[in-house]
Subunit: 339 residues, 4 copies
Amino acid sequence: MDEPTNLNLYRRLRRRTALILFTTGKTDAISRFVDLVLIALISLNILAVVLESIKDLQALAGPYFYAFEVFSVTVFSIEYIARVWSVVDNPWNPTHTHPIKGRIKYMITWMALIDLIAIAPFYLSFFATDDLRVLRALRLLRIFKLTRYSSAMTLLFQVFREEARTIGAALFVSMLLMFVASTLAFVVEHPVQPKVFSSIPASMYWATVTMTTVGYGDMVPLTPWGKMLGAFIGIIGLGMVALPAGILASGFSSALHRRRAILEEHVEGVMEDGIITIEEKDELNQLVQQLNLSEFDTRAIMHAVRVRQAEEAMETCPHCGKRIHEPDDADTDNPETGA
Amino acid sequence: MDEPTNLNLYRRLRRRTALILFTTGKTDAISRFVDLVLIALISLNILAVVLESIKDLQALAGPYFYAFEVFSVTVFSIEYIARVWSVVDNPWNPTHTHPIKGRIKYMITWMALIDLIAIAPFYLSFFATDDLRVLRALRLLRIFKLTRYSSAMTLLFQVFREEARTIGAALFVSMLLMFVASTLAFVVEHPVQPKVFSSIPASMYWATVTMTTVGYGDMVPLTPWGKMLGAFIGIIGLGMVALPAGILASGFSSALHRRRAILEEHVEGVMEDGIITIEEKDELNQLVQQLNLSEFDTRAIMHAVRVRQAEEAMETCPHCGKRIHEPDDADTDNPETGA
Amino acid sequence: MDEPTNLNLYRRLRRRTALILFTTGKTDAISRFVDLVLIALISLNILAVVLESIKDLQALAGPYFYAFEVFSVTVFSIEYIARVWSVVDNPWNPTHTHPIKGRIKYMITWMALIDLIAIAPFYLSFFATDDLRVLRALRLLRIFKLTRYSSAMTLLFQVFREEARTIGAALFVSMLLMFVASTLAFVVEHPVQPKVFSSIPASMYWATVTMTTVGYGDMVPLTPWGKMLGAFIGIIGLGMVALPAGILASGFSSALHRRRAILEEHVEGVMEDGIITIEEKDELNQLVQQLNLSEFDTRAIMHAVRVRQAEEAMETCPHCGKRIHEPDDADTDNPETGA
Amino acid sequence: MDEPTNLNLYRRLRRRTALILFTTGKTDAISRFVDLVLIALISLNILAVVLESIKDLQALAGPYFYAFEVFSVTVFSIEYIARVWSVVDNPWNPTHTHPIKGRIKYMITWMALIDLIAIAPFYLSFFATDDLRVLRALRLLRIFKLTRYSSAMTLLFQVFREEARTIGAALFVSMLLMFVASTLAFVVEHPVQPKVFSSIPASMYWATVTMTTVGYGDMVPLTPWGKMLGAFIGIIGLGMVALPAGILASGFSSALHRRRAILEEHVEGVMEDGIITIEEKDELNQLVQQLNLSEFDTRAIMHAVRVRQAEEAMETCPHCGKRIHEPDDADTDNPETGA
């Protein structure tokens, strides 16, 4: 009689772990707490990597940095193992339920790979004898662990994917122009300053720095033709390289419009009977969160729907004087009204 | 019999002061005059702070600057005390009516704190023995007193708040990329120019200057990998860091659309009976000001509504020849028409 | 009998001159030719001013430049006098018909003042003994004479005026931030580089160059706080200073939408009877030009209207099966149909 | 009996060649393969031009570069001749069917000229004795051969043409300001730094670099007036020079909207009978490709249409209980239903 209980406990623990680790909403207090602790630890890690790169600080507090690193990797390792272990019970994604295939499938998802990259450099540093600097810098990739907690970023990537083709076209045209400009700049500037515009790749660096309007000033055209070229691709750059930002912004705006329309339809359905139940409110809140909309949108939409419904309720047929939209009770048994 | 009159006078004076100080519209001539005087004084103060920082001018006209400072602080102090005193009678905001709680509540509003910061440095300078330079510079914060008089700024901040989540997402992604780029730049550039790319924070300064396309040129990559990185984050920067501007602009445009729709609805209601009374006109003007719309919008909307209503009035049913939209008087007693 | 004929001839000549000078459309061949000659002369003048500034060219071809200048001023003077003389017959603007008041009123319009500025420096140069360089440079203002011929610019300025309040708000906030940033930069950088950040005005130049992301690199922060400030206002700058461009672009887009809607309404009216007469076509073309729309818009709108009307023509009432929109001949005598 | 078969074979070969070379879709495997080989070869050519400009590599692998060049030109020459030969059978463009006129007409199209430019420099290099460098650089123009394969670029150019007038207006205003600013900068900066601001053309280079916010720092104003001018045109630049990007982005967004509306109308027609046949699906896919829309759009639109049609099908008249939108079979013989 002992084993089944144990198994039961094991199962319950795994389910609880999954619930805590894979929920990012506000529902569960413990899950929320674990989230906050992990976010804080990731942030402190980034700070540590940044500060450790300052020589004086490294000399002063080296051992403390190392101790913090060991502590962090321990926590992140436990988190990683716990995630892989409990993913079969992930309530939000039922595609990883198989004990072996499901776990392997999970391990090659983006988020799991990021979690692995967050801890791998530490373990690899025992084997690598030199160039620890690169491995140490790789620890900064832990910052990507933060993406798990940002829901607005999902919207950003979605819009980016939707607009990918037009953005790609803008970047392709920019690249064409950049290639042509670099070659021309190389032809006109190389004879005058052979060390600066030494090759087309060097010229490409100058063209990109000019087209993005960064304009460091480390490479500067000296010939009249080169200067005209620089001025020209500066103008083109502002038009073409800045285009993706504009397209993304427009895409955002229309994505929000579409999402607001979906919410409006839902609100209309909910408010048709004039009453909003608690379940309906919960459902609405969930949808708002899912659609990445703000509370402001919800309130504005609810107000608009209320006004429209009130107006519709007042409309009467111009010929018979009856209301076009009957109140709710009459709506269901229309034939009887006629009888 | 003396005291009640005095009290009455005191009350009336306080109400008058509140009306003068807390009204920013065009209705009251004295209020408008006080507004203009204060705006002029704030502007002159900013000019004085800027000019005083020029050594030659400071040497030449130091005492005059000081006299002007004393005069300004006196006026601003009187303004501050008058505001706190009369806020209980503020006709536009009834939440500060309590003589003690209301005044304290007012004193911790943004605008009151800005008013306090505008005069505090002067009084603090008597206690501070050194570093007067910082205190003197703090006087420039008086510029924020101007925000009271700009109504269009309210719209700007509103749009900013509405779009905060998406702007935040864009900035968060930019920050992620900036961190990763700085670390990579540190790894590849530090060995070549250890003094320039001395640490990750230094590298972060370079990455930000590049991503915002400022590109001073004081820190410049020298290695091929560093140059590729710089070109890459320059392109990314133009796309990601410029995104908030695009989102804000789109947000503005749709905020204006929504506001115009509200105005249109109001105009429709007002014009339904074909006559615009003076009260209705006043009400409309107030709404236009409240919605931060221009006169151009009003006129365009009124024209559109007029045309639409004229068209609707002319529509007749093709079968019975009657007007589909009956004139107003017939509209109320429709059943009787049928009888 | 001589004088009336003469007077008649004088009047006809004046009317003809007005028609030639004040028409910018494509209707009149002579007017078009005069326009092209003037545009070419203005362009050549700008080229001359630019080339004359090159010392070698000035030394080489000085007399020719002077001869061209005399020729140009003669032509522009004749143009100016002809415009003032004939403006009373301007067929496009009847507010200048009064022989004296009308002409004075015209002379203080923007375009007339620009015409005057185009010739004044030449005549003034006889009185001025030195600083001819400034007067010579002022000749470049002739470029503004070109604005008369650009109709698309009218749309640009219109949108600018419509969006002036929001653009003003964005610039005001930018200015506030710029002032605060310059003061802070002055406080932190002045002790380290007192010659570079010598005063707040110098600091303001740096802040503006950073916020507009120009980033020359002639003034660069050296302290950590200054660098953070620079990075921060670079980000803010891209968001706030670039905002007007976004607002203008959005404004453009919605202005075009409104104009397209006006055109659509007109096209609908014109196409209601299924036939487009030559007069209607002329009228449409004029409207398209007036609204600054392209031919593409017209065609797209005409197609859309045609499709919609075809669909409407096919709609039948679900109850009686009759067409809701009767063909044209039945439409006029509806009551008789019922009889 | 031999010749007709030969002729037939010749005809069939030509038709096959045309089909392979002028089809860019995914339908034909061989055509797809040829496309990919050509894209790869063009890309390798660009890489070769870029790498050959690096002196060490040129010294090391010169002969290999030359061999690759000969190979590439051979392939591109064969491609060019094959295109000119088979264009009369181009199934997508029937305007080149005439054996002589059609081929000449084709040879002066953009794409054919680009193909010619891709090979001409090689053949010209036999005649040119010096300045081979320019001819060698011209080989980079082969990059434009890639434009044949990018369908999204068509949309970009279309939007550009539609918005050309407003973009032109923005650039014209920028140019006016740039001219005036350069002249003013020349007047104030020339006396202080006569070598840097040596002439108005030099000043124009500075003004453009500032207005595009590139800001190299090689030319920098030193006088207070020059600095104010620089700050001012930096702000104007961000507003005016960045305007085209915003206009293009807005134009993109509204072009996509219009295209989506066309697709929606088509989808509606296709889905009216509730069934989508394979032919309809093919037709839809073709339209989606033609309109440069993504699969995401199609799915979203199909979903929206389905929902709307389902809702419409359920609507019943509140008074008689009949469906307002009758099913399709009843729709054609409405009068009979009433009988």
